[in-house]
Amino acid sequence: MKKSQRRSLFRIFLIPSLIFVTSVSGLVAALIVDGKADFIAGLAVAAPVLTLFTLSIRPMIKSRVVTGALKRLHNAPAEHKPHHNPPASPGASGDPKKRS
């Protein structure tokens, strides 16, 4: 979740409009086309379902990316370890695993 400043109507409705146009186009296209093209029309109709699926797996992907990044950071050789945060006290390091 990310709260930010008020968004314009364009920003609020950009993705919903794209989903609307895609799914309605798919509904109409499936009426007109036949055979293999039906599959493509079906994918367009699936836009709402695919969006929900993407949104539902996004947190998992994010957590995996973060976990992976942290692991890489932990396993990296000492000279490559970034030290964005200066040690708060003598002996402390920038390694996130060592931070409480």
């Binding site: 979740m1 990310k2 709260k3 930010s4 400043q5 008020r6 968004r7 109507l9 609020i12 409705f13 950009l14 993705i15 919903p16 989903i19 609307f20 146009v21 799914s23 309605v24 509904l27 499936a30 009426l31 007109i32 086309v33 036949d34 039906d38 599959f39 029309a41 079906g42 109709v45 699936a46 836009a47 709402p48 379902v49 969006t51 929900l52 949104l55 996004r58």
Partner: protein, 377 residues
């Protein structure tokens, strides 16, 4: 958006949804099995019937008609229709061509042998029950109009929901569900998200449902105006046909007049869908879009000559297209599965809307029940 404008749209959203929710839930639940009616019918009533001579030559339509009439002495043919996926011809007969439906007799014949075949819709009572519940709740035309009105309320509810989406999402990213907040906020986010992504499908299904609710008046209007016009124009030209020409020749004439179309049924001279002198031969298209659009061709019953072809008016075309768009049975199994998924999403939207309203009412009741703190001053 002004606070007063939001309040008006919120009022529209609340009442259009509340009035229609129970009926829309019923429509969603009964609509779910109807999406897969072909598969369910096939599973419940497996069609074990096979033609006597699979791959063999077909008997002529005149021969089938002769066989049908030999089993119903003294009767007149009214309609002849053709099964889509099996070599079967269905013949409807009656004491006279314009006999009421109760006096009609329906029989199916194997086109390869002329033997009787079981009707295609035998044992489909479960799906028919669900379809009727979905269509008119067993109330006939008033039931259809009532459910059509519920469809209009759904459309209004969707439009008002889209308008209200903007102020709700003014400070949130698309797809945000505030999982750490209260259950009410979490379900509000789910309601908004599911509603906005399914708007296109919900509007399409809702509005086509409204058109379908007017099926009977639309068909009656077509019959009383367009078809009657074609029939009376030809009725006045020719007297009643005394001896019928070959049915096969008449159908061949009609096929010539309507190439690239599929033969659907024949209305015999004197029947409600024809004149006293003509075979009215009805065709439908071959693509998903034209499959349900029928085109009548009149062929003179005496000499098999072509008399006229009338394409459907726009309102019947709209009705024909709204049927597949409503039931989702026009794009194969993938589309059916998607239709079912979107139907389930619609059920969650309706359920969450109801939950949010109940939660709000409870909160209002609580705030009324708790007395205001006494003023110290």
């Amino acid at each position: 958006m002004k606070a007063s404008t939001i309040r008006v749209w919120a009022w529209v959203h609340k009442w259009t949804s509340l009035v229609s929710t129970v009926f829309l839930l019923m429509l969603c639940v009964t609509g779910l099995p109807l999406i897969f009616h072909d598969e369910i019918d096939g599973a419940l009533n497996p069609d074990n019937w096979r033609p006597a001579n699979p791959g063999g030559a077909f008997l002529s339509l005149d021969d089938i008609l002769k066989i049908a009439l030999s089993g119903r002495p003294g009767e007149t043919p009214i309609y002849m229709s053709f099964d889509v996926d099996r070599p079967v011809v269905n013949v409807t007969t009656g004491p006279r061509a314009n006999a009421p439906e109760a006096q009609m007799y329906f029989a199916s014949f194997d086109r390869t042998s002329g033997a009787l075949a079981p009707p295609a819709d035998v044992g489909e009572s479960v799906m028919e029950f669900i379809l009727q519940l979905h269509t008119d709740m067993f109330l006939g035309l008033p039931g259809m109009f009532f459910l059509g009105f519920m469809g209009l309320l759904l459309a209004l509810s969707i439009i008002s929901g889209v308008v209200l989406y903007a102020p709700f999402m003014a400070k949130l990213d698309f797809g945000t569900v505030r999982q750490t907040k209260s259950a009410k906020i979490k379900w509000l986010d789910y309601h908004n998200l599911l509603g906005i992504v399914a708007t296109g499908w919900l509007l399409a299904v809702g509005l086509t449902g409204v058109i379908n609710a007017f099926e009977h008046p639309i068909i009656d209007t077509w019959r009383e105006n367009e078809l009657a016009d074609l029939l009376t124009r030809n009725q006045s030209t020719f007297a009643a046909a005394s001896t019928a020409a070959s049915l096969d020749a008449a159908v061949a004439q009609a096929i010539e007049a309507a190439p690239d179309m599929e033969l659907q049924f024949v209305a015999f001279p004197g029947s409600p869908y024809s004149t006293d002198a003509h075979y009215a031969i009805f065709f439908h298209g071959r693509t998903p879009a034209t499959k349900r659009i029928i085109t009548p061709v009149l062929v003179h019953a005496a000499d098999g000559s072509f008399e006229g072809l009338r394409t459907m008016p726009w309102y019947v075309t709209a009705l024909s297209l709204s049927r597949p768009l409503h039931f989702g049975d026009y794009g194969g199994l993938l589309l059916k599965i998607l239709w079912a998924a979107l139907d389930l999403i619609a059920i969650v939207i309706l359920g969450s809307g109801l939950y949010l309203w109940i939660a709000k009412e409870r909160r209002n009741e609580k705030s009324v029940a708790i007395p205001a703190p006494a003023n110290a001053s």
